[in-house]
Each structure stands twice: as structure tokens, then as C-alpha cells.
Amino acid sequence: MKFIRKIFLYLFLTAGGIIFLYPFYWMTAASLAPENEIADLTLLPSSISFNSYSQLLNKIPIGRSFLNSLLVASAITFGVLVFGSMVGYALSRLQFKGRNIIFFLIIFTMTLPFQITLIPQYIIMVQFNWVDSYWALIIPYLMNSLSIIMFRQYFKSIPQDLIDAARIDGCGEFTIIFKILWPNSVPALITVGIITFMASWNEVLWPLIVIREEKLMTMPQLITLFAVGGRAESQLGVKLASAALLAMPIVIAYLFFQKYFIQSMASTGLKE
């Protein structure tokens, strides 16, 4: 009885695994299949062809968009780590007037639905003349409430003695943050880094709003417009190739740092 239950359990979990993995497998296989096999491919293509990928490269500047996405996501991640730890440090370790107000503002920002600020933020971009520039993609995302809260929590767990000792040695506040706290906060840095990078890599609504020029588009934006605009010309293989390329960087990162991804995402979910 127990044995049979175990078998059912594994069958159930495996069926679930197939449901979650098969579409990705199909995407990869179909994007690599010769053109006449794409439509009815269910398991394995008879031979591997990069035809869909080479056609895709001729149709849209996907290499450029990849670099744009990489630049934007890296800049945002770097900014969020730096500013997040500065504000997190101030909130957890420094005494200053208005500290509670700042904390309240952060919580307020976190609960504020983005629908209300979407249009005004676009108008700010227009006023700053930032439409069609990297600034529009990067600057609004440099501060992130959740990251500040996470750094604040993490820094609270670091012994005050460490900071006091550094102060006696004559360290300034920035040295304390980046030379003393950072080496002791690797898990927090990884968590914030992963969530921020992933969120900016996958962001698509904001780029669609502020970027019109093709050479500045991020990868998800370019591929979205490729998929909905007529340029894919209902060529399934090419569409799937573009989707596969978009998924690849995150999937590769996920394969290596799977545990960190899951922990990071779960911890953000728990805090919201």
C-alpha cells in the first residue's frame, strides 16, 4: 500500500515536471528544426538547422538589443545595490531627523500601485527629454523600496562592534558600507542582485512606453514588437528562435544559481 502510494506520488510529480518543462523543450527543438518540420514537430527534429536563427538575425538587430538589455539591467542592479545599501545602512545604523518619515515613505512607495504613477512618470520623461535614451530605462529604477528594506534587515543582524571598530580606525561611512558591511552581507547582495537583474531583464511595459527607436530597444521589447508586428510573417521557427534567445541568458543563470534564484524570489514574496 505504501509502495503504491509512493509510485503514484512520483507519477504525479513527474507529470507535473513534464507540463512545466515540455513547452521549453518544444520551443528549443522547434527553433532548431528544419523549416518543413517545425509545424508538426512533437519530439525530435530529424536534423539540426540554424536556419531560423540566421533569418532572425537578418530581420531584427537582436545583438544590439541584447547589449542594451545587458547594459540597462547591469546599471540598474549596480545602482540598486549601492543606493539600497546606503539607505538601508542609514535606516538601520544612523540616527538622524526624519528617519521614521523616510521609512514610512518607503513602505508607502511599496504599497502604491504602479498604475497611478505610470502616466505621470512618462510625462516626466518627456519633460526631461529622456524619451529614447538609456536614462529613461535606468534612472527611474535606481531606487527600490524592497531592496532598501532587505538591506536594512540584513544590516541589523551585523554586530555593532564591527562598525564601531571601523569608526575608531577612522573609516568614513562609505568605507564602512562598502568595505565592512558588504563583505559580511554576501547573501543579501546575491538576493537583491538576482531579483533586480531578473526584474529589469524581463521588464517590457516601461521600455514599450519610453523607447521608440529600434537601436535603443531592450531585448524583450524588440521581440514583443517583432511578435505582434507583422515582421515575423507567421514564421513559427523564427518566432520561437527569438523567444529562445530571450529566455537563454536567464535560463543559463538559473541552471547555475538555481538555489539562489528560488531562495531570493521566495524571500521577496514573504516580505511583501
Binding site: 506520488l9 504525479f12 510529480l13 507535473g16 515536471g17 507540463i19 512545466f20 513547452p23 521549453f24 518544444w26 509545424a39 543606493f83 546606503m86 539607505v87 535606516l91 544612523l94 523616510i102 504599497t111 500601485p113 504602479f114 498604475q115 497611478i116 504613477t117 505610470l118 502616466i119 505621470p120 512618462y122 510625462i123 516626466i124 518627456v126 535606481l142 531606487m143 531578473m198 524581463n202 517590457v204 511595459l205 514599450l208 512606453i209 524583450p220 521581440i223 514583443t224 511578435a227 505582434v228 518566432k239 520561437l240 527569438s242 523567444a243 529562445a244 530571450l246 529566455a247 536567464i250 535560463v251 538559473y254 534564484f261 528560488i262 524570489m265 521566495a266 514574496g269 514573504l270 511583501e272
Partner: protein, 275 residues
């Protein structure tokens, strides 16, 4: 130390919120000067069938997505929350769609949902069923998107439930077993009440997600067929960036934000009462 935060807050939070309160009383296409129209946008909104349609669509989405999400996530979490082999592999597999871009997931499911050549319909035909108009039938399109969104997000909720399940003190179950409780009694009397906070979180996160739905209908259906998948954000986007009705788009954003906050507040009340 906090001055960058204050500057950023003023430009990207305080000003937008204040400015949206100005915008909702104006008509503006960004190019010509703003025109004060009093409550014009409000009157328009309450007579706008597309606004109500998008609210209704979001509610349809939530009514399917939330229960499905909770049932599937909880079932899989229960199955995983015991000594089994390859636990890490299963967990990682279910989580994969969470990390992948919504654009990829939507493009994939668009093919799976295809009417004639989609894998799901071909599978159904092979089994002797008739084809389903996943994305072309106005009654089915939103539920289809809700199913896809569940597939995309459920991995995260499996993890959250797993964390929740591990917080249930084991001696509760031991005591129940001594009293002769069966599996379902234990599940409904001990497990469910103990993971109430997790359920609330899943409900809230899914609700916010439902009101933020954009790229899925944008790519799959453009809001159709017959506006059956017109979502809140897609409608703001259309008013703002197709027609350049900035005042009206801001009014929509304002009302959707109020709606989200009140729905979440009601859910909180409801779940707290359940305790």
C-alpha cells in the same frame, strides 16, 4: 546618505502622485496646452463600457487564477513536503517558468493555444475531443490567459507554501494522529489554518498580478476577441499611448489603483475573519 533617496522619491513618487491628481481634472494630449475639464474624466469613466469591461475581465481572471493557483500550488507543495528523491529537481522544474520572461511564456502559449495547429488542440483531437477556441472564443480567451498565468507563477507559490508547511509544528499532527484523525481531517483542521498567512499572501500577490496583466493580452490577443481580454493596464496603455488621452489615462490609472487597494483591503478583512 539618504539624500539620493529623497531626490528620487520626489521626482518619481511624490511628483507623479501629485501630478496625477492634477491630470485627472484635465484633458491633455501632451502637445497642446492642458485643458481643465472639471469632473469630465470621471463622468466619461462612469459611462465608459471599456472601463467596466476591463474591470470585469480582471475579475474573471482573478476568479479563475486565484483558486487554481492555490489548489495546484498547495497540492504540489503537499506532495513535495515529504521525504522523496529528486525533490530539488522537481522544485527547480516547477520554478523555471517563474524566472523566464512573460514575453517568452506568452509567445510559447500562443503556439500551444493555436486553433488549428496548436499542440493542445491537436492533442485534444487525437483523444477524440473537439477543438477549443482558446484565444478566439470571447468566453474562453480570458480563462486561457488565467491558466497560462497560473502555469507561469505557480512555482513561486509552491515554494511559499513549502515554507509555510514547514512552519506547522509537527506535534500538532502527532496529537491529531493519537486522536485518530485521518489525512483529510488533518489537512483541513491543522494544515489549512496554519498556512492562512501564506494563503493571504498568494491571494494578494495574485490580485496585484491580475490588475497588472499587460504583456499577455498585448501579445496574444491585443485585448480581443471582442475586448474579452482587455486588461486594466492594457486599457491605460491604449488610452495613453495610442490616443494620447493623458488626462483620461491618468484617471483610469487612479481608479484602478483605488480598486486594487480596496480589493486587497477587503481580502484582508475577509481572511482575518476566517481565522
Amino acid at each position: 546618505m539618504v539624500s539620493p533617496y529623497i531626490i528620487h522619491f520626489i521626482i518619481f513618487v511624490a511628483f507623479p502622485v501629485t501630478f496625477s491628481l492634477v491630470l485627472i481634472f484635465h484633458k491633455w494630449n501632451i502637445i497642446s496646452p492642458m485643458e481643465y475639464i472639471g469632473f469630465g474624466n470621471f463622468i466619461r469613466l462612469f459611462n465608459d463600457e471599456f472601463f467596466f469591461k476591463s474591470v470585469l475581465n480582471t475579475l474573471i481572471f482573478l476568479f479563475i487564477h486565484i483558486p487554481l493557483q492555490i489548489i495546484i500550488a498547495l497540492t504540489i507543495a503537499e506532495a513535495l513536503n515529504r521525504k522523496i528523491k529528486f525533490k530539488g529537481f522537481f522544485r527547480a522544474a516547477y520554478f523555471l517558468p517563474v524566472v523566464v520572461s512573460g514575453v517568452v511564456v506568452t509567445m510559447l502559449w500562443q503556439q500551444l493555444y493555436g486553433y488549428d495547429s496548436g499542440l493542445i488542440n491537436r492533442f485534444l483531437v487525437n483523444l477524440g475531443f473537439s477543438k477549443v477556441g482558446w484565444l478566439v472564443d470571447p468566453n474562453v480567451a480570458m480563462p486561457s490567459i488565467a491558466i497560462m498565468a497560473t502555469w507561469k507563477n505557480v512555482g513561486l507559490y509552491i515554494i511559499l507554501f513549502l515554507v509555510g508547511l514547514q512552519t506547522v509544528p509537527p506535534h500538532y499532527y502527532e496529537a491529531a494522529e493519537i486522536d485518530g484523525a485521518n489525512y483529510f481531517q488533518k489537512f483541513f483542521k491543522i494544515t489549512l489554518p496554519s498556512i492562512n498567512p501564506t494563503i493571504f499572501m498568494v491571494v494578494v500577490l495574485s490580485t496585484i498580478g491580475g490588475f497588472s496583466l499587460f504583456i499577455e493580452p498585448y501579445i496574444m490577443t491585443g485585448g480581443g476577441p471582442l475586448n474579452s481580454t482587455l486588461s486594466a493596464v492594457l486599457y491605460i496603455y491604449k488610452q495613453g499611448f495610442f490616443y494620447y488621452h493623458m488626462g483620461y489615462a491618468a484617471t483610469l490609472g487612479f481608479f484602478f489603483a483605488l480598486l486594487i487597494l480596496s480589493v486587497v483591503a477587503i481580502q484582508r478583512k475577509f481572511i482575518e475573519k476566517e481565522k
